[in-house]
Structures are given as structure tokens and as C-alpha cells.
């Protein structure tokens, strides 16, 4: 319902925005020429069109529009696919999908095969003339078997009856299929289907792509017809046109072969004998019938095909229009989504699952996406304060008394404080996958800035520092961060330390380079000016060189954020138990397309958020950039 509303809304938005755009062109100054960059300014209405276009494409190609407007269509198409599949094996017998009758094709092919074999035998120099004669005779007899199958005189009454019966069953189906009452299920059958339906999950992200059991009246019709057709075709393919004349000939051929084999006496089977046997068997298993025998059956099948096509009604149109780049019918009785419907999750499902995952009680793998937990201040204090603070306090740790008690003294109380073993109020602390990823980037980046910027400035100003630290930085920097990841994760563990260190490495080199560039790019006249105004070295670094390097440093931070973010996700892919990358990796293992796409969106949004924040900071802190 919501999807439908959104679909209409976006279409209106697109149309409205385009109309607005047309109107704007009419009212614009006519002197605007091509190539004038002014013309690219504004244009929010085209942003609307662009985003609507994206959303509509997503809705359409994920088959969400089909799901929204025709929620039963996938299930019904699945039933149609069942009928098609059952009908297909029968259709193949006749010139409906093929060019000729299957019997005709087989006879043609086997005649050629036999003739080829005869020529091959006659031209074989390693074969005795006597053997040649025997083989050719057997092959001639094999060829003569075919007329015994195609001659109507030999056709048995039993076979005729079965064909008649199958034709009658098909005609019944043709007659009953369009009726509203079809199928006339017994109470038992109906109950069975209803039981199945109760267990059946809906179409979409429920672990099942398309529910296979019929959910609607129309679907039930096709479902029942498919069962009937299966039974008909099974019976047909069980039937063989093995009349007495054919059996006699067949026996005679095998007799000849046996005779020849006995003559050889060594029980060896020549390749030619094997080939001849194969040819005989092929004719035996082929459903070859006299020419006119199956005409009525063929007509019945054609008629049913027409009837079931009629009964499909608008389903065919829906299938073509609303299931782009893949169909359910094509997947046959498996009832799966093919094409983008398979890997492109429906927006409705995606947002629903995202909503589920956002619930702190659900989350992903027992960890919420973004939530808070109450943490005692004592734990934070214990984490921040190092334990040796208690060690350097005066006095000694208490020794237990004779009565088995321990009197705390000042030193032991200090130890309790620095290890966090005291009662304190609790404060909310963020937690969850998103927070973990964010925190890692933030920590890695902050450490990189804290250490990289001073070192970079120093390297930009001092020959020793530049020369001394350059080899270290330049040796590790060109290595892709991910190449370091296995080593660092092995050394520092899969938890936060390893990842933060990896991100620190990434941001550290970037910050060094940008701060260095900023420092060495300081105009000499500015430094001269500061000198002659009486600034000390430290003052020059703090008041002139640092602010002068700020544009470079901030640009460096912006680059580093992007790099860190990319590296983090990949590192979380490699190892870890929390974080967005971890979520995606698990979702990949379980083929949870919705979750994969959710993680992609979350990463995109967080990356964008980072970048926008830094852009805001840049605009606020260095408005003079490029104007010095």
C-alpha cells in the first residue's frame, strides 16, 4: 500500500518537476549561451527528478511495484509456470514448439544412423567379410523394425484405448478448466492445501522468494490442472507401442546377435555389436506411433494450451510489464525470482528489515545497530585511570588480620578507585554495530591527526626530521592498507585495537603528508613578518605556520576520512564480531540481500555524513582559503 502510494507520488513529482523545468526555461533570459557555467546553478527540481528516477528504478526492477499492485501475481504466475512445465513435455511430441512430430524426427534420425553404420562397417578394412555380412544384415533387420511401429495395422487395441482415454481426460480438462467450480476438490484435498497455506510465508524477504502453494482461486485452478497434466503425461510416456509384430522382429534381431556371439565363443563384445544394440534400444524406447494415431491428442493439447492462455488473463501482461529483466514463469515449478528480482531487494522489504534491525532488541547477531547501554561511571573511570596510580601512593597494601578480615587503608581505597571497583551512578553510552564502526574511524583518525600533524609540520620545517622520518613513512604508505590488515589483525587481535591501529596507520601518513605540504608551503614573507614582529620560534609555529597549513591539513583530514572508512569496512570484512562490515560479511554468507543492501546504504550515508561534517568545518574554519 505504502509502496503504491510512493510510486504514484514519485511519478507525480517527476511530472511536476519536468513541467516546472519547462516553465523555467520559458521565463529565463534568452541571452544565456551554451558553456556558461552560470547555467548549471540551481535546479533543485532536477534533483527531485533524479532522486525520483532512482527510487522508481529501484521499485520497478526489484519488482516491488508488481508486489504492491498485484500482491498475488507472483504466486499465480508460479502456478502458471507449473502448468507450462507440465504441458511442455507433451507439446514436444507435436509440431507445436518443434518443427515436426517427435516420431518423424526420430525415424529420420535413426534411419540415417543405421545407414551411416552400414557404410562404416562395409569400409572397415579390419573386419572380415563374413562378419561384415552378418552385421549389415542385422542392421537391415533393425531398420525394418520401424515400419512395424508405424504401420497402423499392427497397432494394438490396448494402446489405442490408452490414447483415447488420455485424449478424453484432456478434453474433460479443457471443458472444466474455465468453469468457476474447477477444481472439484474433495474435502480432504482442500484441507491439505489449507494446512499448507497456513505454514506458507508471504512473497518477499521471508526466507522464501515466491510462495509455491496456490493462494488464490485462479492459482488453485492452474495448480490442479498442472497435477492432472503431469498425470496424463506420465501415463503417456509409460505407454509403449510394442505390438506383437515388433516384439517378434526385436526378438529375431537379438537372436541373430546371440548366435553371432556364441559363434565367437570368447564372450567378447565387439564395438559394432554394442553400437547395433544401442540403435535397437533407441528405437525400442522412442515413442514411435503410426502417423495419424496421435492427431486427436495433439488437437486436445493445442486446445488446452489455448484455454489456459485465455485463463491467464491479465497475468500475462503483468508478467511482461511489471516483472522486468526476468520472469517467474521462466523459473518453472521452482517458483523462484529470476533477474534483478533475485538480488535487488524490494524497497518495502528492505525498509521493513532495516526497521527490524534498528530495534535494539533485534539488531543483528544479538547486537543492536545503534543504541545505548547504561554503563557505570566506575567502569569508565577504571578504564581511563591506569592502575599504577595506586602503586605509587604512599603506604602499603593492607595485610589480612588474624580474624580473617581485611581492613582497607588509603592505598587499597585508591586501588579500588583506579580499577573501577566502587559504586557510581550510570550514564548512557552508545553501542551497536554503527557506533562501533564510527568509533573505530573516529579513534583511528584522531590518533592519526594528533600524531601526524605535529610530525608533519616538524618534517616540513626541519631537514633532519624530514630525512629521518621520510623513509619510514614512505615505505609503509604506498602499501595498500588492506595489505597490512592481515598482519596487524594477527598481531593486535580482531578486536578494536587492531582496526584502530590500521586506521591510525592510514590517517597518520595522510596527515603527515598534508601537514608537511602545508608547512613547507608557508610564504617566507609571512614568516619574515612574524620574525620582525618579535615572535619566538614556538609562536611562529603556533600562530603562523599552523594556521597557514590548516587548509592543507583539513583537506588531508577529508581524504583520510574517506580512506579510513573504506579500509575499516574491508578490515571488518576480514575479521571481527561487530561493525557494519561484519554485518555485511555475515549477510553475504546467508545470502541476505536486503541486509547487504542495508549495510551498503548505511555505509554510504555515514560516509556522506562524515564528508559533509568536514566540509562544514572547512567552510567555518578556513574561509580565507584561496584568498590569501
Amino acid at each position: 500500500m505504502i509502496t503504491g502510494f510512493i510510486t504514484f507520488f514519485t511519478i507525480f513529482a517527476v511530472v511536476g518537476a519536468i513541467l516546472y523545468g519547462r516553465k523555467l526555461i520559458k521565463t529565463e533570459k534568452t541571452d544565456a549561451v551554451f558553456g556558461n557555467p552560470e547555467r548549471a546553478k540551481g535546479g533543485m527540481h532536477w534533483v527531485v527528478v533524479g532522486s525520483s528516477f532512482l527510487l522508481l528504478s529501484w521499485l520497478y526492477y526489484s519488482w516491488d511495484i508488481a508486489k504492491s499492485f498485484y500482491p498475488k501475481s507472483a504466486n499465480e504466475l508460479c502456478q502458471v509456470a507449473k502448468v507450462n512445465e507440465s504441458l511442455l513435455s507433451l507439446k514436444y511430441l507435436f509440431p507445436i514448439v518443434e518443427r515436426q512430430h517427435k516420431s518423424t524426427a526420430i525415424i529420420k534420425r535413426e534411419n540415417i544412423n543405421i545407414e551411416d553404420k552400414i557404410i562404416l562397417i562395409q569400409n572397415d578394412p579390419n573386419l572380415k567379410d563374413q562378419d561384415k555380412k552378418i552385421f549389415v544384415n542385422i542392421l537391415r533387420d533393425t531398420k525394418l523394425m520401424i515400419p512395424s511401429l508405424t504401420d497402423e495395422r499392427y497397432l494394438e487395441d490396448d494402446t489405442k484405448n490408452i490414447i483415447n482415454e488420455l485424449t478424453i481426460r484432456l478434453n474433460h480438462l479443457i471443458e472444466n478448466f474455465p468453469k468457476d467450480s474447477y477444481p472439484n476438490l474433495t474435502e480432504e484435498e482442500e484441507n491439505e492445501i489449507n494446512e499448507g497455506l497456513k505454514k506458507q510465508l508471504g512473497w518477499g524477504a521471508t526466507g522464501m522468494e515466491v510462495p509455491p502453494l496456490p493462494e488464490s482461486k485462479r492459482g488453485l485452478k492452474f495448480h490442479a490442472a498442472a497435477a492432472e497434466l503431469n498425470s496424463i503425461s506420465d501415463e503417456f510416456f509409460e505407454m509403449r507401442n510394442h505390438n506383437p509384430e515388433y516384439l517378434r522382429q526385436s526378438e529375431a534381431i537379438f537372436g541373430e546377435i546371440k548366435e553371432y556371439m556364441d559363434g565367437l565363443g570368447d564372450g567378447r563384445e565387439l564395438d559394432y555389436i554394442k553400437d547395433i544394440k544401442k540403435l535397437v534400444r533407441r528405437i525400442e524406447y522412442a515413442s514411435i506411433f503410426p502417423p495419424k494415431t496421435l492427431d486427436e491428442l495433439e488437437n486436445a493439447i493445442r486446445a488446452f494450451d489455448k484455454v489456459q492462455n485465455n485463463e491467464q488473463g491479465n497475468l500475462r501482461t503483468i508478467d511482461i510489464i511489471l516483472f522486468p529483466a526476468g520472469t517467474i514463469v521462466a523459473s518453472g515449478p521452482q517458483c523462484s525470482e529470476a533477474g534483478p528480482g533475485r538480488w535487488l531487494p524490494k524497497p518495502s522489504d528492505t525498509f521493513r528489515i532495516f526497521g527490524e534491525m534498528l530495534k535494539p532488541s533485534v539488531g543483528y547477531k544479538m547486537i543492536p545497530m545503534l543504541w545505548y547501554e547504561m554503563m557505570g561511571v566506575n567502569r569508565i573511570v577504571g578504564f581511563i585511570l591506569p592502575d599504577w596510580i595506586a602503586d605509587i601512593m604512599p603506604g602499603k597494601y593492607p595485610v589480612h588480620n588474624q580474624d580473617g578480615t581485611v581492613d582497607p587503608n588509603f592505598k587499597s581505597r585508591m586501588l579500588d578507585i583506579v580499577t573501577g571497583e566502587f559504586e557510581a551512578f550510570k550514564i548512557p553510552v552508545p553501542t551497536g554495530h554503527i557506533w562501533d564502526s564510527f568509533l573505530r574511524v573516529f579513534l583511528g583518525l584522531s590518533l592519526g591527526i594528533i600524531f601526524g600533524v605535529p610530525l608533519g609540520l616538524f618534517m616540513g620545517l626541519n631537514r633532519f626530521a624530514k630525512g629521518f622520518f621520510d623513509p619510514m613513512v614512505e615505505l609503509y604508505r604506498p602499501v595498500p592498507p588492506l595489505a597490512w590488515a592481515p598482519l596487524i589483525i594477527t598481531v593486535f587481535g580482531i578486536d578494536n585495537v587492531g582496526k584502530v591501529f590500521l586506521l591510525f596507520m592510514v590517517s597518520f601518513s595522510i596527515m603527515i603528508i598534508s601537514a608537511r605540504a602545508g608547512a613547507s608551503g608557508t610564504q617566507l614573507s609571512k614568516i619574515h613578518a612574524a620574525h620582525s614582529l618579535g615572535a619566538s620560534r614556538w609562536q611562529i609555529i603556533r600562530e603562523v605556520i599552523f594556521p597557514n597549513s590548516l587548509p592543507e591539513i583539513l583537506t588531508g583530514i577529508r581524504v583520510a576520512v574517506g580512506m579510513c572508512w573504506g579500509t575499516l569496512v574491508a578490515a571488518e570484512f576480514l575479521a571481527g564480531t561487530t561493525g557494519i562490515g561484519f554485518v555485511e560479511n555475515v549477510a553475504r554468507k546467508y545470502m541476505q540481500y536486503e541486509v547487504i543492501w542495508i549495510t551498503i546504504f548505511v555505509m554510504g550515508m555515514l560516509g556522506l555524513l562524515f564528508d559533509l561534517t568536514i566540509r562544514k568545518i572547512i567552510d567555518k574554519t578556513i574561509p580565507w582559503r584561496g584568498k590569501g
Binding site: S525, K526, H528, A530, H531, L533, G534, A535, P623
Partner: protein
């Protein structure tokens, strides 16, 4: 008396390839307190090198420059500097730029603020205190640079083509300002310029320098600067004596340039 005395200053630059450039040769002069010296010359004659030595940014190869009784050995507050491009700190406002020197000395902020206001008034930037410097025009930026330098109360003001990047009209106004400040503060000023007219207008004394090696080619003592304090600058420019002096110096510089070009070919 804090006279500026230059004694046999030589400056020889050596490149890594071993080439030597004799940038200054035996520069000897004495500048009395309160004098305004303008230095003229073709490019590459060592004007800026001389100024940098006076400022203490460079150490001469031989010889020395003393201000008062102190030999110049490194930059100092008693020698203020004004650069061609202002060299303002564009991340600071006008106020912060002007009080930079006092802030570095950690002087009382209230007194500093008062001084800044006075100086902004003198250079004609009253009310611009909180404007970011990157929003100022070129002329205004130079006024800030002047105020920033003067607020430290230096004995000597070194100006390296301070008006070179300004348009003609602004330049004229700034020339009057320089003269006004010179008169009111009585500072010793060395002003380097490319413009002959400017050198004649502002310079109580004018040195024309010659290149290769850089040396003082000719010295003039001129009355125009003192006249400029009372008269209109444009009238002085049309003065016959001024015009003839200007032509004389221009020809001199032209000859020097031609000599260089000839040498190069």
C-alpha cells in the same frame, strides 16, 4: 643617536654548483635618524638583499650594519618590515593582525586594544577592526601592514616595494600616507621601489643601485619629500626640476639594463 651605519657590506651567494653571485659589494652608507631613504635600481641589483640584511633575515658575507650601537644579527622588533604583498595573516582579523606583535610580547590586552584603535585611525581604517583581512582591498591591506609594523614603535622601518602591487590612484594616496607617517613619527625609513617617480617623491635621499656586483651607483639628496609634506603630490610631479631628475635617473637605469642585456647576449 640610533643611526643606521652600513660598513663595507658584501654579500656573496654560492650555489650548489659552485657558481658565485656577488649580490652586494662594499655597501657603505650612514643613515641618520629620521631620514627617508629610497633605493632604486634595475632588477637583480641587490636592493632586496640589502633590505633583508638590514632586517636581519640574512647575514652578510663580510662587513656589518649597525643600528645605534647594536650590530644587526637576526630579526628584531626595533626594525619593522612592510612587504609588497602585505604578508598579512589572512586567518586573523584586522585587529588581530595589527596587535600581533604586542600579543607576542604578551602585553596588556586593554592597552593593546587602545593602541590598535589609535593606529587604525592614523592609517585610515577606523571601524574595520573586526573585518577579516582577506576581505580587504589591496590598499587597505597595505594600510594594515603599515599599522602592524608601526604599533611596535620600531626605530627603523624597512619597506620592500610596499606600493608595487597597487593601482595608480591607491598608490598616490598611500604615498601621501607614507609621507604623513614619516613626518608625524619621525622614523627612519628605507623604502625600496621600482618606480622612479615614487623614489623621487618619497626619498629625502635616493640611492640608485647598479647590478653585478650590486653597488650604490649614485646618490641624490632631494627636496621633494619635504615639499610633499606641504604641497600636492601631483603638482610636484609636474615640477620642471622633478621631471628632469626623473628623466636623468630613467636614462641611467635604462643604460644599466642595456648593459646587462648586452652582457647576456
Amino acid at each position: 643617536m640610533s643611526n643606521l651605519v652600513s660598513q663595507k657590506v658584501n654579500m656573496i651567494f654560492k650555489s650548489l654548483k659552485g657558481e658565485t653571485v656577488h649580490a652586494l659589494k662594499d655597501i657603505t652608507f650612514t643613515l641618520k635618524k629620521g631620514e627617508l631613504l629610497t633605493v632604486l635600481g634595475p632588477s637583480g641589483c641587490g636592493k632586496t638583499t640589502l633590505l633583508n640584511i638590514a632586517a636581519g633575515f640574512l647575514r652578510p658575507t663580510s662587513g656589518s650594519i649597525t643600528l645605534g650601537n647594536n650590530e644587526i644579527n637576526g630579526p628584531g622588533v626595533e626594525r619593522g618590515m612592510v612587504f609588497q604583498q602585505g604578508a598579512l595573516f589572512e586567518w586573523l582579523t584586522v585587529n588581530e593582525n595589527v596587535n600581533f606583535g604586542l600579543r607576542m610580547k604578551k602585553e596588556d590586552p586593554i592597552k593593546t586594544a587602545k593602541k590598535v584603535e589609535e593606529w587604525l585611525d592614523i592609517v585610515g581604517l577606523k571601524g574595520f577592526g573586526n573585518t577579516p583581512t582577506y576581505q580587504l582591498s589591496g590598499g587597505m591591506q597595505q594600510r594594515v601592514a603599515l599599522a602592524r609594523c608601526l604599533i611596535n614603535d620600531p626605530d627603523l622601518i624597512l619597506m620592500d616595494e610596499p606600493l608595487g602591487a597597487l593601482d595608480a590612484l591607491t598608490r598616490e594616496k598611500m604615498q601621501s600616507l607614507v609621507l604623513k607617517i614619516w613626518k608625524e613619527t619621525g622614523k627612519t625609513i628605507i623604502l625600496i621601489t621600482h618606480s622612479v617617480e615614487e623614489a623621487l617623491l618619497l626619498g629625502e635621499r635616493v640611492y640608485v643601485m647598479a647590478p653585478r656586483p650590486g653597488r650604490i651607483h649614485k646618490e641624490y639628496k632631494l627636496p621633494f619629500a619635504s615639499r610633499g609634506l606641504k604641497e600636492d603630490l601631483r603638482e610636484i610631479k609636474n615640477d620642471k626640476e622633478f621631471v628632469s631628475k626623473r628623466e636623468e635617473i630613467l636614462t641611467m637605469i635604462w643604460d644599466m639594463e642595456e648593459e646587462i642585456m648586452g652582457k647576456e647576449i
